[in-house]
C-alpha cells in the first residue's frame, strides 16, 4: 500500500468511527425517550403514580388528537406562539437599541447605570399586574411581558460587549476618518454579533417565561391559559399536553436562532 492510500484508508476508518459513535449517541437518546414515556404510561396504568395528577402519555395523546380535530389547540398555540415571537423580537431589538444609545452617549450610560442595575435585579414578572391594568388584558400586554423580561439584560450584556470591542479596530477606522455612525456599523455592531446571538438564545427562554406568566394572569387564551385552566378544573392531562407542546415549540425556536447564527456569523470557519 502506498503512503497516500494508507492515509486515505486511515481517514475512512476515522470517519467510520465517528459515524459509529454518532449512531450510539442517537441510540441512547432514543432509549431515554422510549423508557421515559413507556415508564410514565406503565406507572400511571399500574397506579404507581396518581393518574389524576400525572396523567398518562396515552391520555395526553388522545386529548391532543381531539384538540387538533376541533381546532382549539391550533388557536391556543397560534396565540401563544405569536406572543412569544413578538415579545422575543421586541425584547432583543429594544435591548440592542438601548445598548446602542448608551454606547453613543457615554454620559447617558454613566447616568443610567444605577437604574439599569435596579431594573435588572427586579423580578420582571412582578410587573405583570401593572402591565395588564395599563395595557388591558390583551395580546399587547402579554407581548409586553415577553419583551420586558429580556430588555434590560439584553441591554446590559450587549452594551458590555460594545464597550469591549478592541479599540484598535476603532483606531483603524479613525485613520480613515470614520464618523461615530460608521464606527458603529463597521466595527462595534459586527464585532458584537456573537454576543447578540447568544443573548438571542437566552431571550428565547425568557420570552416563553414572560408570555406563559402573562397568560396565567390574563387567563383567556393560549397555552399558559390551558395550564391554569387545567389546574383549576383538575384536568392534568390538559396541563401535560400544554407543557409538551411548549417544550417542542421552544426547542424549535431555539433551533431557528442557531440557524440564524450560522447565517449571520461568517469569518471563514
Amino acid at each position: 500500500m502506498s503512503p497516500q492510500e494508507n492515509v486515505k484508508f486511515l481517514h475512512q476508518k476515522y470517519i467510520q468511527s465517528l459515524n459509529r459513535e454518532k449512531k450510539w449517541v442517537r441510540f441512547y437518546q432514543a432509549v431515554i425517550f422510549i423508557v421515559f414515556f413507556s415508564g410514565w404510561e406503565l406507572a400511571s396504568q399500574k397506579q404507581w403514580i396518581d393518574p389524576l395528577i400525572f396523567s398518562a402519555p396515552s391520555k395526553v395523546w388522545g386529548l391532543f388528537l381531539t384538540k387538533i380535530q376541533d381546532g382549539t389547540l391550533m388557536v391556543d398555540l397560534g396565540y401563544t406562539l405569536s406572543e412569544t415571537v413578538f415579545g422575543f423580537i421586541l425584547g432583543t431589538f429594544l435591548g440592542t437599541l438601548l445598548a446602542a444609545i448608551l454606547w453613543w452617549s457615554p454620559m447617558l450610560s454613566k447616568i443610567a447605570d444605577p437604574y439599569l442595575v435596579v431594573l435588572n435585579s427586579m423580578p420582571k414578572v412582578a410587573l405583570g399586574p401593572i402591565l395588564i391594568v395599563a395595557l388591558g388584558p390583551s395580546f399587547t400586554s402579554i407581548v409586553a411581558m415577553g419583551a420586558i423580561i429580556s430588555i434590560i439584560i439584553t441591554t446590559i450584556v450587549v452594551y458590555t460587549s460594545f464597550k469591549e470591542v478592541d479599540p484598535n479596530y476603532i483606531k483603524v477606522l479613525q485613520t480613515f476618518g470614520a464618523n461615530r455612525f460608521q464606527i458603529f456599523r463597521e466595527a462595534i455592531l459586527p464585532a458584537s454579533f456573537p454576543t447578540i446571538i447568544s443573548t438571542l438564545k437566552v431571550n428565547v427562554g425568557l420570552s416563553w417565561v414572560g408570555v406563559i406568566v402573562g397568560e396565567f394572569l390574563v387567563s383567556s387564551k393560549g397555552l399558559g391559559y390551558m395550564i391554569i385552566y387545567g389546574f383549576q378544573v383538575f384536568n392534568f392531562t390538559l396541563v401535560m399536553l400544554s407543557l409538551l407542546v411548549i417544550a417542542v415549540f421552544a426547542t424549535v425556536m431555539y433551533q431557528l436562532v442557531e440557524l440564524l447564527e450560522r447565517k449571520l456569523i461568517k469569518n471563514g470557519s
Binding site: 484598535n168 479596530y169 483606531k171 483603524v172 485613520t175 480613515f176 463597521e186 456569523i265 469569518n267 470557519s269
Partner: protein, 259 residues
C-alpha cells in the same frame, strides 16, 4: 516648505491616578518622498507620536502640519498602519482592503480596481474572498498594507509592521515594502526597534530616548546604503559602521541595569 513638520510637540496622558509624559518637546521635519525611521526603546512614545501625526488626537502642546495644513483637519491624506494588522475578521480580504475607500465615500470602480491591483502586486492573487484567519501572518500584514495604500495617502506611517513576523518573512517583506513605496515615491515613516531594519530601509533615522520620550539624535544613512534593497543593505560593507554608531548611541540611552 517642509512636507511634514512636527513642531515642539509635547504630550501627557492623564489618568485618574497618574500623568504620564509620553513625549517632550519633539520637533522634526520630513521631506516629500523621504523614508524615515523612528527608532527607540519601547515606551519612548513612538506610537503616541504616530497617533498625533495621524491626527487621532491633539498633543497637549505643539502642532503638526502636513503641507502647511494642520493634520487634525486633513482628510485621508495620512495612511497609518497599526502595530498589528487589525484586519476585520468578519470581513473578507476584498472588503477589508476597500474599507478606507468605503469610509471616505470614494469607492469608485477605478479605485477598487487599483486596490485589487495592489493586492496582486503584493503577491496575493486569489485571496479576495478568503477571510483574514485563513491567511498567514505575513500575508495579513501585506493585506493591511494594501488597505492603507488603497486610499492613496500622501504620507504612510508603519508602526512596527514586521515585529510579529518570523525572520525570513520579515526580510522578504522589508524588500517588498521598500520596493513598493519607492516605486510610488511615497513619503513614509517606519517605527521599529530593530536597528538593522531602520538602517536598511530608510534615508534618515530618528533615535528617541525614553522617559520622557525625546528626540535624541538623527542619523543620515549613507547614499550607498539607501540605493540598495534592504536585504542587500544589510550585507553592504558600509552597514556595520553605521550599525555600530547607532548601537552605541542606543546603549548610552539605557542604563545597564535595565536590560
Amino acid at each position: 516648505m517642509d512636507f511634514l513638520k512636527v513642531d515642539a510637540v509635547h504630550h501627557t496622558y492623564f489618568t485618574k491616578t497618574s500623568a504620564v509624559t509620553a513625549l517632550s518637546d519633539v520637533s522634526l521635519e520630513v521631506e516629500e518622498g523621504e523614508f524615515v525611521s523612528f527608532l527607540g526603546p519601547s515606551g519612548c512614545g513612538k506610537t503616541t507620536l504616530l497617533s498625533i501625526i495621524a491626527g487621532l488626537f491633539e498633543p497637549t502642546e505643539g502642532t503638526v502640519t502636513l503641507e502647511g495644513k494642520r493634520v487634525e483637519t486633513a482628510e485621508n491624506e495620512i495612511g497609518y498602519m497599526l502595530q498589528q494588522d487589525y484586519l476585520f475578521p468578519w470581513k473578507n480580504i476584498e472588503e477589508n482592503i476597500l474599507l478606507g475607500l468605503k469610509i471616505g465615500n470614494s469607492l469608485t470602480p477605478d479605485k477598487k480596481a487599483y486596490a485589487l491591483k495592489l493586492l496582486q502586486e503584493m503577491g496575493l492573487k486569489g485571496v479576495e474572498t478568503q477571510f483574514p484567519k485563513q491567511l498567514s501572518g505575513g500575508m495579513r500584514q501585506r493585506v493591511a498594507l494594501v488597505r492603507t495604500l488603497a486610499t492613496g495617502p500622501k504620507l504612510l506611517m508603519l508602526d512596527e509592521p514586521f515585529s510579529a513576523l518570523d525572520y525570513q518573512t520579515k526580510l522578504k517583506l522589508e524588500d517588498l515594502v521598500s520596493d513598493t513605496l519607492k516605486s510610488f515615491g511615497k513619503t513614509a515613516i517606519l517605527v521599529t526597534h530593530d536597528i538593522g531594519e531602520a538602517i536598511s530601509m530608510s534615508d534618515r533615522v530618528f533615535l528617541f530616548s525614553a522617559r520622557p520620550g525625546q528626540l535624541h539624535k538623527t542619523f543620515v544613512i549613507p547614499k550607498e546604503l539607501k540605493d540598495e534593497t534592504p536585504f542587500n543593505a544589510r550585507n553592504h560593507e558600509a552597514y556595520p559602521a553605521i550599525f555600530q554608531t547607532i548601537w552605541k548611541e542606543l546603549e548610552s540611552l539605557e542604563p545597564a541595569g535595565e536590560r
